[in-house]
């Protein structure tokens, strides 16, 4: 069993899964749609002579505001890559689960998990590499010369990379939690709701400043500029804390996965 064989098998398994494309679609197409909406709103505010109606007129910010959708896409990818292994087939089709086929073909569990993690990170990077330039391009096309860009290219690149890192780490945490629970429900409920509906972690900061060390808030400054609350960790230390959380989740999931019956 070669490393390339494992990686190619896991990549192939993921891209032939319709649910994985739902995650990729949310990240790419959802971000594009949201960017168009943001950019058109900004443009019409400028054209109407009331730019104060929008938070700022930067094309980059109009595109970057769609970043949370990439997090949702990464969570979906991380979850379905694992939950698809444990989903039972219909009872009248034998009721089997794919994990049986996976582990008989690739019985070295740590190598298998490493391959899954690698494929997930590669896919998230690919999604970011398509989404970020596309949305920034669209926002620039819509807003164009109507406003002056306040974000320098260096800042834009750094924040794009930071955002992609945040996506990848969140996707990995989602995958680890799903592997621990063998269920595709818990991770998306917690991670997607917390990212998009109401941030429980953010509310917790009102109770204790320790909440700033939770994985999602620790990594929040990777998006730099989305300063919804003051305080908490700076981008660099925050990224390290979030990465440390991710490693802990993955190690716990790996130890359990190695020991447990399939």
């Amino acid at each position: 069993m070669s490393v390339t064989g494992l990686l190619a098998a896991e990549l192939r398994k993921t891209v032939t899964l319709p649910a994985a494309w739902a995650g990729i679609g949310v990240a790419v197409l959802g971000s594009i749609a949201l960017t168009v909406l943001n950019a058109v709103t900004t443009r019409s505010a400028i054209d109407a002579g009331t730019p104060e109606r929008v938070a700022n007129t930067s094309a980059f910010e109009a595109a970057f505001a769609a970043m949370p959708l990439g997090t949702v896409g990464a969570v979906v990818l991380g979850v379905v890559m694992i939950s698809s292994e444990y989903a039972a087939n219909a009872a009248d089709a034998g009721g089997g689960r794919q994990i049986t086929a996976t582990l008989t073909a690739m019985p070295r569990r740590m190598s298998l998990l490493a391959a899954k993690v690698t494929v997930l990170v590669l896919l998230v990077i690919a999604v970011a590499a398509v989404t970020l330039p596309t949305t920034v391009g669209i926002a620039n096309a819509v807003i164009g010369g109507a406003a002056t860009e306040t974000v320098t290219p260096e800042q834009a690149l750094l924040r794009g990379l930071g955002g992609a890192l945040y996506w990848a780490l969140t996707g990995l945490i989602a995958a680890a939690v799903t592997l621990l629970t063998r269920s595709g429900l818990i991770a998306p409920i917690v991670l997607i709701a917390n990212n998009s509906v109401v941030s429980v972690s953010l509310l917790l900061t009102n109770l204790t400043p320790l909440a700033h060390w939770l994985p999602d808030l620790a990594g929040r400054r990777l998006f730099a500029g989305m300063d919804t609350v003051d305080g908490g960790l700076a981008a660099g230390p925050g990224a390290l804390v979030m990465a440390a959380w991710t490693v802990v989740f993955l190690i716990v999931a790996a130890v359990v996965f190695r020991r447990r019956d399939a």
């Binding site: 069993m1 064989g5 319709p18 087939n89 009248d92 089709a93 034998g94 086929a101 070295r108 019956d261």
Partner: protein, 249 residues
């Protein structure tokens, strides 16, 4: 016998020795041991819940035993390099995700074990699923799912086949076809181990029988040895599994 043939025999030999498995306080397998030999079809018989699947899952490295060993050609399954080329297996139907097509399922399996892509089409043909290659697994009938599982087992042209209830859901024609396929495998020197809860299902195909009841092996031997003295195969089976031999003539 040449050294090469001795090696071939080793590769496909399945050895299960003193397996113990507990779920909490319940003992599922109580020192289970038997062998399956190359060139022979070994039927592993027992009622539902007797311990057949638990034994096969440990043999295939899916579950961990609390004691004992299970070896494929002298090695634990988990240490096999490209295991699908040594052992083809089927447990609980196809093991394919319902949203994926039959062809895509076999394609990733082939890729994982460095098996030539050409084999995907070949095994689909062999099991009669060529026309359903692009159908999503969730839309296959139970019998077609079994055929897909068998296609996956045959993919790596393995020396040994380990099949859990392989004729489940097959129509009479399918059962006949499956028997022919298993006999051909054994005739070509392969090892075949299949589980069943019906003795009549395996009587026409098995050379050796291993009978398990309540997590213990209660009988093992050739078909002729184990059925001698009984009018009907089912009588032999029930006598062996109930442990009283009352139906013996």
């Amino acid at each position: 016998m040449s050294a090469g043939r001795a090696h071939d025999r080793m590769v496909g030999m399945l050895l299960i020795d003193q397996l113990v498995k507990r779920h909490g306080t319940r003992t599922v397998l109580d020192h289970v041991g038997f062998e399956a030999h190359p060139g022979r079809v070994t039927a592993f018989l027992g009622a539902n819940g007797a311990g057949k699947s638990s034994t096969l899952r440990i043999l295939l490295g899916l579950d961990r035993p609390d004691g004992g060993t299970a070896l494929v050609g002298g090695r634990p399954y988990r240490s096999l390099r490209d295991p699908l080329r040594t052992v083809g297996s089927m447990l609980d139907g196809s093991g394919a995700h319902r949203a994926r097509t039959a062809r895509d399922h076999l394609a990733w399996l082939a890729r994982s074990n460095g098996i030539d892509r050409r084999r995907v089409g070949e095994v689909l043909d062999q099991v009669g699923l060529a026309s359903s290659a692009r159908v999503r697994v969730g839309r296959l009938s139970l019998g077609m799912g079994q055929r897909l599982g068998l296609a996956a087992a045959l993919l790596g042209e393995p020396q040994a086949l380990v099949l859990d209830e392989p004729v489940n859901g097959l129509d009479p024609e399918g059962i006949r076809w499956m028997r022919g396929l298993l006999r051909d495998q054994a005739a070509a020197g392969g090892t075949v181990l299949l589980s069943s809860h019906l003795m009549s299902e395996v009587a026409d195909v098995a050379d050796d029988l291993v009978v398990i009841a309540g997590g213990r092996i209660v009988a093992a031997g050739t078909l002729a040895e184990l059925t001698a003295g009984y009018d009907r195969l089912e009588d032999a089976f029930f006598a062996l599994t109930s442990g009283d031999g009352g139906a013996r003539r």
